[in-house]
């Protein structure tokens, strides 16, 4: 293989990696946000940023 082929393989791999990673993260964020909004509104509870594990074990 010549240098340009290696270069193309490298960049295509990285572009695919970055695109998949970013799409997965953004999609995950939106899905969880939608689920949480639905659950919290159906229960009528106040949204809290608290981390229960941290609260329970704070020294």
């Amino acid at each position: 293989m010549d240098g340009m082929t290696y270069l193309t393989v490298a960049y295509l791999g990285m572009i695919a990696g970055i695109a998949i990673w970013t799409w997965t993260v953004v999609n995950r964020s939106r899905t969880i946000e939608a689920r949480l909004t639905a659950v919290e509104s159906s229960m009528g509870i106040i949204a809290s940023e608290a981390d229960s594990i941290s609260k329970e074990h704070k020294d």
Binding site: D2, G3, G13, S29, I32, I45, D51, S52
Partner: protein, 234 residues
């Protein structure tokens, strides 16, 4: 709101990364044809070095988050730990992948097990992989968080070790091209500009990813609490 600003940073960073690629191909000069086995493949460098730089930022975030969780039981610290591990894994894999392809073109082999820089950076990426997979496979609790934070704290030792590796033992990985001390770097002005744009873009991109990852962890915790309420817990 926080989610939107993270997405804006992701978009800006991605645009900058693609601009770097375009400039690297169209504008940056070629290297001397007799100085490299594969001069064309050298252009991998415009993403390889900024990706490694972004990985170091992510590992610093991982270290800070691990320390904040381990010593202060800080929820912010845990979110930083999770985000740092995920971002470190992604950027580490980009740097390792691009380095392997360049090594195959330039050295005739994708990896050299005797090179300190390659192996310490590979270990760092494996550490991030362990933290990401470990968190997904273990139930969330104070014991598992403590264990992963300990790995995050001690694993950071590899970062300065990786940084100085080519200064002390230049075996196969090229030495520093910027900030090389009195000897100066081997980079021409135009190459340095493209590299700088790449580093800046990857920095913005990784900050966006860290913010969105922290938000996901926070949302997951809230969702878990809400489901706990439904199950009758307090």
């Amino acid at each position: 709101m926080a989610g939107r600003s993270a997405e804006v940073l992701l978009g800006l960073g991605f645009a900058g990364i693609m601009t770097t690629l375009l400039l690297g191909f169209q504008w940056a000069p070629s290297v001397a044809i007799d100085a490299f086995e594969s001069p064309a493949a050298q252009r991998i460098f415009y993403w390889h070095v900024p990706a490694a730089w972004a990985a170091f930022i992510a590992f610093a975030v991982l270290f800070t988050g691990s320390a904040m969780w381990f010593f202060k039981r800080s929820p912010l610290g845990w979110r930083l730990h999770v985000a740092g591990a995920e971002a470190g894994l992604a950027c580490g894999l980009i740097a390792v992948w691009s380095g392997c392809v360049w090594g195959a073109a330039e050295w005739g082999t994708p990896w050299d097990w005797t090179d300190v820089r390659l192996n310490t950076f590979g270990l760092l990426t494996l550490l991030a992989l362990f933290l990401v997979l470990g968190r997904q496979s273990q139930p969330d609790g104070v014991e598992s968080r403590d264990t992963f934070s300990t790995f995050g704290l001690f694993g950071f030792v590899l970062v300065p070790f990786t940084y100085i590796a080519t200064r002390i033992w230049e075996i196969r990985h090229p030495g520093p091209v910027v900030g090389a001390g009195d000897d100066g770097g081997s980079l021409s002005g135009d190459m340095a500009i493209v590299l700088f744009i790449g580093a800046l873009s990857f920095t913005i991109f990784i900050i966006g990813h860290i913010l969105i990852s922290m938000r996901i962890t926070s949302l997951e915790q809230r969702l878990e609490q809400a489901l706990h309420h439904i199950d009758g817990g307090k």
